[in-house]
């Protein structure tokens, strides 16, 4: 195409892969993330204990220490195996993060594409909407929304689907801005002009011709947002407004940890370490992807 300007992202597979491999920590992050995903996917065949079963033979009303009675990482305050809950919690965290980010990318891409491609009043409307959502602090808004939805709907409707929709529906703003910025410059390019002259419809131009050229920043932003959503979901669950017990999530496993911290610090430590390791891996991966896909942004 043309030589690179700030808003252009040329993807050449070879150089991208070469640059990515050079970023050792990003490579390590990808490996760690793949491992965690593998463990989460394989959870049912790992011969773990039942994550929701109380060890009634050994549990005396307080958390069992790591190593006691066949619990490698101990139990929580209800006598449930911590290792099993951590593994099943990983499933929840990863599923919520994946689908919430998928949703935010879809919404953000469509809104950003419409704003950037059509400009004018559509652009103005989308950008004001973006401003509005960026100005309301996300966590309080999420708390209010989950509180309202869970109080008005039946208990059965709760679960991770609700969290996915609420988080995904409220975090598309960054993607929308990125796509809009790319489209503003892409729509003026010769190939867009050519596509238009050939009689292609707007939809085809947007999705077949322009979007593939705007994909690099979306990938980077989506990867980093996976980390953000994992943290957000765990915070909501910790505060009691996310994934509801007995379903294990890394966040709600920490909800009662504070009151037992003096006698059972491991209950507070392990779930947090899982969050930290996963989020670190995703963040390093995202960092590496940014350096690889977009040399202009390297080091930011």
């Amino acid at each position: 195409m043309i030589e690179s300007a700030p808003h252009e992202y040329r993807i050449e597979r070879h150089s991208v892969w070469k640059r990515f491999k050079r970023h050792k920590l990003a490579f390590a992050g990808a490996v760690v993330l793949a491992l965690i995903t593998l463990i989460a996917v394989c959870a049912p065949i790992l011969h773990l204990q039942d994550p929701n079963e109380i060890d009634q033979a050994n549990w005396m009303g307080y958390p069992l220490a790591p190593g006691v009675a066949g619990h490698l990482l101990g139990t929580d305050e209800n006598g449930r195996d911590l290792l099993a809950r951590l593994v099943y919690g990983a499933r929840i965290s990863l599923i919520v993060a994946f689908f919430a980010v998928l949703m935010e990318v879809c919404i953000g891409t469509v809104l950003g594409a419409v704003a950037g491609y059509y400009g004018g009043i559509a652009d103005y409307a989308v950008m004001r909407l973006t401003d509005v959502f960026l100005s309301i602090p996300l966590l309080p808004l999420l708390l209010v929304l989950t509180a309202i939805v869970s109080a008005t709907s039946s208990k059965a409707a709760l679960g991770f689907g609700l969290i996915v929709v609420i988080i995904g529906g409220l975090s598309w703003m960054q993607v929308a801005r990125l796509v809009r910025a790319s489209f503003l410059s892409l729509r003026e390019k010769e190939f867009a002009e050519a596509a238009r002259a050939l009689g292609n419809g707007d939809m085809r131009i947007i999705f077949r011709h322009l979007l593939p050229n705007a994909v690099a920043p979306i990938i980077v932003s989506a990867t980093l947002d996976i980390a953000g959503v994992i943290v957000l979901e765990s915070t909501l669950s910790f505060l009691g407004f996310g994934i509801q017990p007995p379903t294990a999530s890394w966040g709600n496993m920490l909800a009662n940890a504070q009151s037992n911290m003096a006698i059972a610090p491991w209950v507070a430590i392990f779930p947090g370490v899982c969050i930290l390791v996963t989020v670190l891996a995703v963040n390093y991966l995202g960092d590496g992807l940014r350096d690889a896909l977009d040399p202009n942004m390297a080091g930011r």
Binding site: R128, D131, V132, L134, S135, I136, P137, L138, L139, P140, L141, L143, V144, L145, A147, I148, A151, T152, A227, V231, S234, T235, F238, L239, F241, G251, L254, A257, Q258, M261, A262, P265, A268, I269, P271, G272, I275, L276, V279, L280, N283, Y284, G299, R300
Partner: protein, 323 residues
């Protein structure tokens, strides 16, 4: 410059109006609306509810309710908080000093630590100190605030740390707000929450400060300043810092939503009697007026900080034309 500030401030008004419409519509979907807290009370009959609804104008269309709310807010009345049995303005005023103390000291700490770590790392790139700061910053950005709070409590409050021959154990909850409380004890109560709330900022800001300063130290005007015979400190602090701050002020302005969220979590975990905890307790009771007031207030704070960042940007960067 004055015209620019006025114009940017005026632009904030329609934005805040849109935010208030959105929040009003969302909150009115709460079960029972503003009368939700009364629904569970067996002493209040459906007839009472109907009467209250009529008296408060809740049987009117939503836009009429909104316009009435807006009118009252413009007159300085945010409504009546059912959880606290006082007006929302009083309830917020009660908690505002604690939040301002916590947020103010965290902001100060974040600025001091975040910026100086960033500058230090940029001046000695790829040294041990740089790697240490960059790695800790990366960890800081990847750690949920609530878990960091738990770990800090575990380490410094539950177990205590032995250092320099002293056993350091800090209080894990409360603010020590009575009149008899000595200033030293107040500080002890402030240290952990302020540290927790500023950690994410320190991590983010030091990374941006480092990359920005790394660009600036390579600039020609820095060499010129050094060639004039100015001391290294003066060159970095006067010529370097002002230019390196240009991208950083935007990041600082954008951290406000994160700080508000962090304050909710931090105040809940450390039992800090601030606005975040006020909001969190009101949440379970669907205290309409208080939730609306709190969300509007924090949104105003975010909009104000964005404005401040834009103005600071224009002031720092003479290339920006603000007319």
């Amino acid at each position: 410059m004055f015209v620019y500030v006025v114009r940017r401030s005026l632009q904030a008004i329609p934005l805040l109006l849109l935010i208030s419409v959105l929040l009003f519509v969302v909150l009115s979907k709460a079960p029972g609306g503003p009368l939700g807290p009364y629904l569970a009370n067996p002493h209040i009959t459906p007839a009472d509810i109907a009467r209250l609804k009529h008296n408060f104008g809740l049987d009117q269309p939503l836009y009429v309710q909104y316009l009435r709310w807006l009118g009252r807010v413009c007159a300085g009345d945010l409504g009546y908080s059912t959880t606290n049995s006082m007006s929302v303005v009083d309830a917020i005023m009660d908690r505002l000093p604690a939040t301002l103390l916590l947020m103010g000291s965290s902001l100060l700490l974040s600025l001091l630590a975040g910026l100086s770590f960033g500058i230090y790392a940029a001046l000695r790139p790829y040294s041990l100190g740089d790697y240490l700061i960059t790695t800790i910053a990366f960890f800081g950005q990847s750690m949920p605030v609530f878990w960091f709070a738990l770990m800090v409590q575990l380490l410094f409050a539950v177990q205590g740390v032995n250092a320099f021959g002293y056993h350091i154990a800090l209080p894990s909850a409360g603010m020590c707000a009575t009149d008899e409380c000595p200033i030293s004890e107040r500080l002890e109560h402030l240290i952990l929450p302020a540290l927790v709330l500023s950690f994410l900022n320190i991590a983010t800001w030091s990374r941006f400060m480092r990359s920005s300063m790394l660009e600036v130290v390579k600039a020609d005007y820095m060499r010129t300043a050094a060639a004039k015979g100015l001391t290294a400190t003066y060159v970095v602090m006067r010529h370097g810092l002002k230019n390196a701050m240009i991208p950083v002020v935007t990041i600082i302005g954008l951290s406000m939503p994160g700080m508000v969220a962090g304050a909710v979590v931090t105040e809940t975990i450390f039992a800090w009697p601030g606005m975040g905890r006020l909001f969190f307790t009101a949440l379970g009771n669907f205290d309409f007026a208080l939730l609306m007031g709190y969300l509007m207030l924090v949104s105003c704070l975010v909009v104000f900080f964005n404005l401040l960042a834009d103005v600071a940007y224009a002031w720092l960067d003479p290339r920006v034309k603000y007319d």
